[in-house]
């Protein structure tokens, strides 16, 4: 049916096309995730690939995550100290603010944002380059399923390393906050420590770790997907890499809200004063 070329119709067609593209991408991404889980379930995995990815994703990310977590904790303590000094007259509750924020939110979210930029970009670029140079096709002709060979080790390595990296970020962030509290606001270290230890519970930490696992899955699956569907030579690889990082970051932030709401609803890391 020809509806004509009027501006309104063209606009509707544009919106319709975009919705179709997004839905089809979501479908294919879910299919990739299903295939990855399928191959994990099938077993006979190559441990050397998983370990080498753990080195790449995990070990090599420690320095940059440590650095970002340190300064996140420090600026958090700085801002809270000034804010509560204005409000209460004293820099109170800084330890609690830094502790809860890092463990429940900033450790997982900013840690995974950093990972998306560092690890996600590398994955999308590497797999994307393999796609445009026909190395993915070559894998099929050598009896190797590309999802099993490329996506599975990266996903498993991520599931193992991301909680460790998040805990590391939490600890470094809290220590950064401690430094600022002690040296900028003269808060005794014992006060800072007690605020955290008295009020924080294990399931607050769990909330952060569970979220970080989801974020890790998002990063790996989105970036593998963008790599596998990459087209168009060097320019295509560049586009796929950028898109992979941006999409991962947006999905992390959006899912953060829903995950937090859900976890609080089932009682993990819920308010308890």
């Amino acid at each position: 049916m020809i509806l004509g070329d009027r501006v309104e119709i063209r606009f509707l067609r544009y919106i319709g096309d975009r919705i179709l593209i997004v839905t089809s991408s979501v479908g294919r991404l879910t299919e990739l995730f299903r295939q990855t889980i399928y191959w994990i379930g099938r077993g006979s995995l190559r441990t050397q690939d998983i370990v080498s990815q753990m080195m790449e994703i995990g070990i090599r990310s420690f320095p940059v995550i440590g650095l970002t977590a340190l300064f996140t904790g420090m600026v958090l303590a700085l801002q809270t100290g000034y804010a509560f000094s204005n409000f209460f007259g004293e820099p109170v509750y800084v330890g609690m603010a830094v502790g809860f924020s890092m463990v429940k939110e900033l450790g997982p979210a900013t840690g995974c944002m950093v990972l998306a930029g560092r690890v996600g970009a590398a994955i999308a670029a590497e797999i994307g380059t393999m796609k445009v140079t026909e190395q993915i096709d070559a894998l099929y002709t050598l009896g190797t399923n590309p999802v099993k060979y490329l996506a599975v080790p990266r996903l498993l390595a991520c599931l193992i390393m991301v909680p460790i990296l998040t805990l590391f970020a939490d600890i470094i962030g809290v220590l950064g906050g401690l430094l600022v509290s002690v040296y900028s606001f003269n808060i005794p270290a014992t006060v800072y420590r007690d605020e955290i230890l008295n009020f924080m519970r294990v399931d607050d930490v769990y909330q952060g770790l569970i979220k970080s696992l989801f974020f890790g899955v998002i990063i790996i699956m989105v970036c593998c997907y963008k790599g596998f569907t990459c087209e168009g030579g060097a320019q295509g690889v560049g586009r796929a890499t950028t898109s992979a990082v941006v999409t991962s970051m947006v999905l992390i932030l959006v899912s953060d809200y829903f995950l937090t709401a859900f976890l609080v609803c089932i009682g993990i890391g819920a308010a308890h004063f």
Binding site: M130, T133, A138, T141, G143, T144
Partner: protein
């Protein structure tokens, strides 16, 4: 034996294959010629199951492959070795690891046996002692020959060549042509090549098929193709810009 029946393939609005019919006998070397962008590589990828058609069937040794699941298709793909246009070597692996790739993934051979086979296949393609080099350190001709060694490492029944001599200097192109003929004699495999280079096509083929506007325009032994009166075939093999094949130029 490979049978292709009424194959149709489109990419969006672009109808690339419009009813291809072709039969490939065991042990023969058949070359598919045609202009750039006419769908030769697309046809090749259908044969090995890397692409699926909108309409039509591909039969390999009596088994229809276009509707197979992931795992059954993987079994069929083990019968094939493929040399890609840019060789498609895995750039993070050494030459040795590239050639041994299929062996490591699919067999239980020990390292000593694998090393022997790698050496043997590299010798077959006229390369020795380069096992520790990385693909980035190889010339174009060497990359293609390593790609070929990798393709034959599993002793496949069929081997596919996507533009085997394209991008190589005339001498290296002839070296590759000689290798293709040599492999056919030594390993008795069925070869399917795709090229727009007529020198290669005449030299290596038992039969030549021309793809034009998504269909097989003509098929025959090299002598028949050389003497063909079909204007489309004549234009292509004489390399003339005048004739029924209109190459679309950018406006």
């Amino acid at each position: 034996m490979i049978r292709i029946r009424n194959l149709h393939k489109s990419f969006g609005d672009n109808r690339v294959l419009r009813g291809v019919n072709l039969e490939i006998e065991d042990g023969e070397t058949i070359t598919i010629i045609g202009g750039s962008g006419c769908g030769k590589s697309v046809l090749l990828k259908h044969i090995v199951g890397l692409l699926k058609p909108q309409v039509g069937e591909v039969e390999v040794d009596g088994e229809e492959i276009t509707r197979l699941g992931m795992e059954e298709l993987a079994e069929v793909q083990k019968k094939f070795g493929m040399l890609f246009q840019g060789a498609a070597l895995f750039d993070s692996l050494t030459v040795r690891e590239n050639v041994a790739f299929g062996l490591r993934m699919l067999t239980d051979l020990d390292e000593g046996e694998i090393e022997k086979r790698v050496s043997e296949k590299l010798s077959l393609v006229g390369l020795k002692g380069i096992e520790d080099l990385m693909p980035a350190e190889l010339s174009g001709g060497m990359k293609k020959r390593v790609g070929l060694a990798r393709a034959i490492a599993m002793n496949p029944k069929y081997i596919l060549y996507d533009e085997p001599s394209t991008g190589l200097d005339p001498i290296m192109a002839d070296v590759i042509n000689d290798l293709i003929i040599d492999l056919r004699k030594k390993l008795k495999i069925t070869s399917i090549a795709v090229t727009h280079d007529m020198v290669t096509a005449y030299k290596i083929s038992d039969r030549i098929a021309m793809l034009y506007e998504g269909r097989i325009e003509e098929i025959g032994v090299p002598q028949e193709i050389k003497k063909s009166e079909n204007p489309v075939v004549r234009q292509f093999i004489t390399g003339s810009s005048e004739g029924p094949i209109k190459m679309k130029l950018r406006e």
